[in-house]
């Protein structure tokens, strides 16, 4: 089995921990140096941030950013070879898997907010998006109040399902909330009329609509559940050395023109697997964030930029 060598190597690496290094490495950097591998968590259907192409390989905007971070880590640790392991995550498994050490970086569409920062850390923001819902035009649902008494789906573990739950309680909507395992499953529920609406970040909704069989049948609500919130790549908390390397890599990426180039590659050009073009020009807030990278969880911070 291909996993035995990996487990053996990990155990051996741990037992060799006694070997001294020139500089004291701690935390994730230490782990990476000893095992010679870094594990990236990827999403399966968060187009265009992190998703599987036709060959079941993860690609996307966040994946590219992560690979740049991996290059920076490799340089920092002066390694000749750094093995990149890939581990699929969903909205509900990403935080526990980060906390228990299964992944070192989560490259996807994770919203950076203050509550999550109690459990994990984020690096510089790579996108800003608000929470909305998609529904079929035929359902004629325009505002959140129109969802009263209906069946609405969202992805478990996301900030969106939490916002939906809170709005449901606050506005007394008696919505029947279904929790789907991942975005693909949730959108399919709207497609097959199992749910009338899917609540998710609007950029992901546009991608799903664009990739669906009948893009014209769907509409994204104007009313949002939240202000535009930042996406960040996740890493473990209380690991300042690693955070420094990651922050440095992402800041360098955004501040030089490369960040903009990567953005255009995924949002303004045709992307795999169906050759869609999302045609979503960079928002002014995100542009100014690229110029002054930050990992702030506060949506108002970006508005003021």
């Amino acid at each position: 089995m291909k996993h035995l060598p990996m487990i053996g190597l990990a155990l051996a690496a741990v037992f060799c921990a006694g070997q001294g290094n020139a500089e004291e490495l701690t935390g994730t950097l230490k782990n990476i140096k000893e095992t010679g591998a870094i594990t990236l968590g990827y999403r399966e259907s968060s187009i265009p941030f992190s998703y599987l192409d036709d060959n079941q390989k993860p690609i996307g905007f966040a994946m590219d950013i992560c690979y740049k971070i991996v290059d920076a880590v490799k340089k920092e640790l002066k390694l000749d070879k750094l093995e990149v392991k890939l581990n699929p995550v969903t909205s509900s498994t990403r935080i526990p898997l980060m906390a228990n050490g299964t992944i070192d970086l989560e490259c996807g569409s994770t919203t950076n907010n203050a509550e999550r920062q109690k459990q994990i850390a984020f690096t510089n923001t790579h996108f800003l998006t608000a929470s909305r819902f998609v529904s079929k035009k035929a359902s004629k649902l325009n505002s959140i109040d129109d969802l009263k008494g209906k069946t609405v789906v969202s992805t478990s573990g996301s900030t969106n399902i939490k916002q939906l739950t809170e709005a449901n309680a606050a506005r007394n909507l008696a919505v029947n909330i279904i929790a789907a395992k991942d975005h693909g499953e949730a959108f399919l529920m709207v497609e097959t009329d199992r749910a009338v609406a899917f609540v998710m970040d609007d950029i992901l909704l546009s991608s799903f609509i664009a990739g669906s069989k009948e893009p014209d049948a769907y509409v994204i609500s104007k009313e949002a559940f939240s202000k535009p919130e930042p996406y960040g790549i996740m890493l473990r908390k209380d690991d300042p050395a690693f955070k420094k390397v990651v922050d440095g890599a992402t800041a360098a990426l955004y501040q030089t023109g490369e960040g903009q180039k990567l953005y255009d590659k995924w949002f303004m050009e045709k992307i795999a697997p169906k050759g869609l073009n999302l045609n979503a020009p960079i928002s002014p807030e995100l542009k100014s964030e690229f110029a002054h990278p930050t990992d702030s969880p506060d949506p108002d911070f970006y508005k003021a930029m």
Binding site: M1, L52, N87, T90, P96, G101, T102, D182, E185, L188
Partner: protein
Amino acid sequence: MFANFDFDVIRRSLAYLFFDGMTFTLTLTGLSALGGLIFGTLIALMRLSGFKLFGRIAGLYVDLMRSLPLVMVIFWFYFLVPYIGQWLTGSSRPIHVGAFASSLITFVIFEAAYFSEIMRAGIQSISRGQPAAAQALGLTYSQTMRYVVLPQAFRNMLPVLLTQTIVLFQDTSLVYVLSIPDFLGAASKVAQRDGRLVEMYLFAAVVYFAISCIASFGVRRLQSRIAFVH
């Protein structure tokens, strides 16, 4: 009724389904059955040993595993194993454990409880004359177990053990809850990506049915050939 179904999606994804999905499922089944059997036999021996403490611990373990739903145990181990690894190896961080390793550990520990009950019944069904004769011949406890009791118990319970393995094969589909790519997981990934739920789930149902049917038929043939020798 079946007008707008595209069964070609099955043919297009066969390689992925079988090379990735089915190999995962079968490897997990095989290794878990083996591990579960070995661990289960140890637990059964602990329960049947003279030492009250061993018996108690083994009994508690079996009762705990048999009261919990497998889905719950899968969740527990997926999130817990790295911490246990950290504690066991004394490292400073939780140990990285992949999906396969985590599932394997889960199923070995869960199924061991069931295998232990089967082996316990098997060991108890051996007539008392056997270990007595072994003792008369001067064999130690472990020699008795290894050469006299366990081989007979195993042979007697083989059909039940194989049936439990078929149940284990079906249970591996539950790793779906963690999006782990076993056969059913692979089928549903294709289903969701291409919007072909009906075709893929029907295909998955047929495959599971065929494999389980053939396997249980095989076990029934085996059962009629193994006579109980007392």
